[in-house]
Symmetry: C3
Subunit: 268 residues, 3 copies
C-alpha cells in the first residue's frame, strides 16, 4: 500500500518557492492541491528566515534578477544548513549566458536534493554541447536515445549528489545508481505553460513528506503523469486552458490508490 | 432593498492595487467581475499619480521589495491626502521580520479605511504573541474563542481607526464599536491561493462605491462567502481550479437580491 | 485558402515577451495555444541574447521598472538590428507621466512592426489631448467617430512606419495607406483582464510566421474576435473566468477554415 499522498496531506508541508512570475499562481495552487502549503517569496532579506521555517525549498531559474539570485543562494544555504529538502529547476538554462552562470554558481555553492529539467537543460548542466529553444527541449536533443539520456542523468546525479529527473515523453529518474523510467503522461502537457514548474513543486511536496527521496521523486513524476492522463480523458475536445484546469483538479483529486493502479514505470 | 453591487456597477470605481504576483491576475479579474476597474502598479515613481486618480487603493503585503514598499507609502499618503478609501492586507506578516516592520511603518505613517487578515495576521498587528505558518493562520490561533477574536479585532480597530476584518470559518467585521459575525463561506475557499487577496480587493470595490464603510465591508465579506457557497454547489466533484473559476464566475453573476437572500450574519 | 494559422503551427516561432505580471500567464498560454513558443524575460542582461534568438518580440508597457525599461530598449534594438518583428502595447500610457515618457523614448529609439492599443492609448501616441481611465479607453474617446479613429491610426502609422491597430467595438488596422475594419469580437472580452495583452501577443505570432505584416495583423485581430464569439457561444450563463478559459481554448482549437468562414471585415 502506497501512502505518499496521504503523507503529504497529513504533514501539510510548507514549501518555500523562489519561482518565475509566469506560472507562480499555478505552482501555488498545485501545492495546495496535493496537500502542501505554499509560501512564495524571492526577496533576499526575508529568505533565510522563510526557508528555515519551511519543510522544502523550490528554486526555479525563471526569474534571475540580481536580488532574486541572492535570495536563491541564501535560501539554498539555509536549506542545506537546516537539512531542508530542495529542488532545482534550471529553466531555459541554455537560452542565455547569465542563466547558465547562475545555475553553475548554485550547484557549486550548495546541494539540491533533486534537480529536474528537460533533456536540453540537463545536458547543459553536465557540460554537453546543446542548443535549447527557449524553455523547450531542442528537437535534436529530444531524439537522443533513452540509454544516452539515462547516462546523462546518472552523470549529473554523480556530479551533484542529487536525484536527477529528465522530463520528456518518457521521464527518467535516477540517483546515479538506481534509475527508473516513467511512461505516464500525455502530449497535452506540452500545451500549457508551466507543466515543468508544476512538477518541480510537486516533487518538493513529495520529498518533504516522505523519507526516501528517490522513491518520493519517482512517485511525484508518476502522479503528475497520471493526472495528465486523467486531465486528457476529461478534455472533451476543449483546449489547453481546460487541460490546465483539469490537470490541477486531478492533482487535488489524486490519492495513493489511483497512483498504484495507473502507475507505468520500470527500473532500467 | 440592498444596492451595494448595483452601486459598484454604476460607479465602476478604479481600484489601484499594489499586490503580490501570485494572485495578481485573480485580483484584477475579481475587480472586473464585481463591476470595478483594476489598475495594478507597484512602481513608486508613478504611484502618487495613479492613486490620486483612483477611487480606492489596495495594499497587499505579499511583495516587499524596497521600491514596492516605497510605492506603498507614497500611495497610502496620496490616498489619505485625497480622501481615497484604502484596504490593507498584511499577508504573512508573522512569517518574517521585514514584513512585520513594514506593516507597522505603514500603520504609523498613514491610515487605512479597512484592514483585513486572518487571525494570526491580526494578532501580530495588535502585538500579541503568535506564530503563523506562512500565509495561513496557525492552528492554535484558529482555536481562539470567537469572543477573544472579536476583542482582538476591536482592539486593532480602536488602535488604528480602521474597520477590521478577521477572515476565518466565521468572519468578524468591526469598527471597534459595532461588530458583526458573517457565517457565509465554504471550506473549499482555503483550497485556492488568494481567497484572502480576492476578498481584500472586493472590499475596496465595495467601500469605493458605498458610503458606510462598516456596512460596505460587511457586504463585501458576505458577497465573497455567498459566492463561495455557490461555487461549491457547482463544483460537481471537481478540484480546486474549478472552484476558483466558479468562485470568480459567481462574483461576476452576483447581484443584490442574491446577497439579501443568502446572507448569514448577526451583530455580536 | 488561408494558411495563417497553419504557418504558425509549422514554424512554431519563439516569441520573446517583455510584459506585465498581471496577464503574463495568459500571454504565455495564448502563444502556445496558437502554435508559438513563448519565452518571457524582462531582465536586461539577458535580453539582447534572448531577442536575437527569437522570431518575434512583444513589448508591453504594463511593467515599467527601470531595469525592465532598459530591457525593452535593448530588445527593441536587437529586434531592429536582426530584422525580427516586434509589437508594442502602450498599456495605460495616458495614466501616468513615466509611462508616456518611456513610450515616446521607445518610439524614438527604434521601430515596431505593429503598435496596438485602445483609442485613448493611440491618441496619446499621436499627441492628442485625451484622458484614459487607467487601462481602459475613456468613454469620450470611445465615442469618436470611426472615421476620426481611422485618421488617428493612419497618422500614427505614418509617423512611426508601424502597422497600427486600434482595438474597440470595431477594430481598426492600418499601414497608413490601406485600412481595414474588423467587426468580429464580443462584449465579454472587456470583462477579462488582458484581452488587449493577449491580442498583442497573437499579432506577434502571426507576423512572425507570415510575410505580409498588414494582412497577418488583420488576421490576428480577426482570429481574436472569432475566438471571442465562439467563447461567448459556449458561455452557458457562466462568468468572466469561464469566458477567459473558453477564449484561450478557442484559440487552441482555431484553424484557417474557421477564420475564413467567420471573418467579418472590410477595407475602408
Amino acid at each position: 500500500m502506497l501512502n505518499f499522498i496521504q503523507n503529504i496531506k497529513e504533514k501539510n508541508p510548507m514549501i518555500h518557492c523562489i519561482t518565475n512570475y509566469v506560472t507562480i499562481n499555478d505552482v501555488a495552487n498545485i501545492l495546495i492541491a496535493c496537500g502542501a502549503s505554499p509560501i512564495m517569496s524571492d526577496y533576499s532579506k526575508e529568505c533565510e528566515e522563510l526557508t528555515s521555517i519551511s519543510d522544502g525549498l523550490v528554486i526555479n531559474l525563471g526569474n534571475i534578477y540580481p536580488d532574486v539570485v541572492e535570495a536563491m543562494k541564501i535560501s539554498l544555504k539555509s536549506a542545506n544548513t537546516n537539512n531542508i529538502v530542495s529542488v532545482f529547476d534550471p529553466v531555459a538554462i541554455g537560452a542565455t549566458k547569465p542563466r547558465k552562470k547562475i545555475a553553475f554558481e548554485l550547484l557549486k555553492e550548495g546541494k539540491f536534493s533533486v534537480i529536474r529539467g528537460n533533456i536540453s537543460e540537463i545536458k547543459n548542466l553536465v557540460g554537453l554541447n546543446t542548443k535549447s529553444k527557449g524553455v523547450d527541449a531542442s528537437k535534436s536533443d529530444a531524439k537522443d536515445s533513452l540509454e544516452d539520456k539515462v547516462e546523462i542523468a546518472k552523470t549529473l546525479s554523480r556530479n551533484t549528489g542529487s536525484v536527477v529527473v529528465i522530463s520528456g515523453a518518457k521521464d527518467i529518474i535516477t540517483n546515479g545508481d538506481i534509475s527508473y523510467i516513467c511512461e505516464n503522461g500525455d502530449e497535452m502537457m506540452k500545451n500549457i505553460t508551466g507543466s515543468g514548474c508544476i512538477l518541480t513543486a510537486l516533487i518538493a511536496a513529495f520529498i518533504a513528506s516522505n523519507n526516501n527521496i528517490l522513491e518520493a521523486t519517482l512517485m511525484a513524476v508518476i502522479t503528475s503523469g497520471v493526472a495528465g492522463e486523467f486531465a486528457k480523458n476529461m478534455l472533451n475536445n476543449r483546449g489547453n486552458l481546460t487541460f490546465r484546469e483539469n490537470f490541477i483538479d486531478e492533482i487535488f483529486l489524486m490519492n495513493d490508490d489511483k497512483i498504484s493502479k495507473f502507475a507505468k514505470f520500470y527500473e532500467i
